[in-house]
Subunit: 199 residues, 2 copies
């Protein structure tokens, strides 16, 4: 028995979010229906206002309510360090460290030629222009160590290696709190290869 | 640096959903901002339409777009079996079994006197009226085996035990695919006590 076409539509919308399976989507949809209506109506309004106010920063390609974005115009951040990320949301995660005070660049996608994401789709030209303007001494490729991430890191390294800039990437290995037993073999083999002296 | 007040509001709204932590809320909010705007605007519209169309069924207390709900008016379902659940969403989960063809009743909350949920708040009078009208031969208390669930099961059993109705509850024990090692002691002790002959 179909509960309600509207509810089913709502469940399917939540199901489209990354990492939200059918069961969680059901839970979210029913929560909205069961809560006081104002919460749900406010959420609907917030979604509308937010997505309508966001655009892409013409300098760093980040999603932001202003162009240039706060990170590109801030006088408190250094042009010497440029951190390249896959998505705008990665910036919020990295900012959580409260460690990095340089500039950002958002690729928008990792290199994945079979899915139609070649060098143009990951905004290579815009990145080169950004580097041209900022003259950073270090470009940090803060991309995830997946097959696509590795391909992108390699591609960008080839592109940038002769420009006299230090090209770095995040350390890979066993995560803190991670268990050897539950690490996959790639992670383990990589951590073994990258082992370092205890001091 | 605050990214955007709107985005922060959106993150905090998602964070209010059960089981959605701050990190997942961030992921959901950014996904909405990064997708094509139509998806987000449609979601906002679906939320509005859905919550505005849902009300409570006056017979079973379920959230539904019609009163009586489809389960209460369906001629294909038997009055002989009444399944009591905590929330409307439990009905969708149980319907997934495609096994039960009786009626439902939604308590809305488990008994939890310290949080202000006494017999009146869990709609005891409405349940008694429902039983009066349906004359079921079996009432299935499909409540979770938590402290509050057990208290509610016990309370409802006391209330109904002298009415000549069979009062049942769902089996408790080790879940399929569950590991002895990862079962908590209550689950294990209960499964031990309820062990049954293999045949
Ligand atoms: Zn920017
Ligand atoms: Zn009903």
């Amino acid at each position: 028995m179909l509960f309600s076409e509207n509810l089913e539509k709502l469940i399917q919308s939540f199901n489209r979010f990354p990492g939200i399976g059918r069961k969680t989507a059901q839970r979210l949809a029913w929560y909205l229906v069961a809560q006081d209506k104002n919460f749900a109506l406010n959420l609907a309004e917030t979604i509308k206002t937010t997505v309508e106010s966001f655009k892409t920063c013409s300098q760093c390609n980040m999603l932001s309510e202003s162009d240039p974005c706060p990170f590109c115009i801030s006088p408190d951040r250094s042009d010497s360090y440029l951190c390249v990320v896959e998505n705008s949301s990665d910036i919020q995660i990295l900012e959580g460290m409260n460690e990095f005070k340089g500039r950002y660049f958002v690729l928008g996608h990792l290199l994945s030629p079979l899915d139609g994401y070649g060098p143009e789709q990951i905004n290579t030209a815009m990145l080169l222009e950004r580097i041209e303007n900022l003259h950073p001494s270090e470009v940090i490729l803060a991309l995830k160590p997946s097959a696509e991430g590795e391909a992108t890191i390699h591609y960008l390294w080839e592109l940038l290696k002769d420009k006299g800039i230090s090209i770095t990437r995040l350390s890979t290995g066993i995560p803190f709190g991670g268990d050897l037993e539950y690490s996959n073999l790639n992670t383990l083999a990589n951590a073994w290869k990258r082992r370092y002296t205890v001091q």
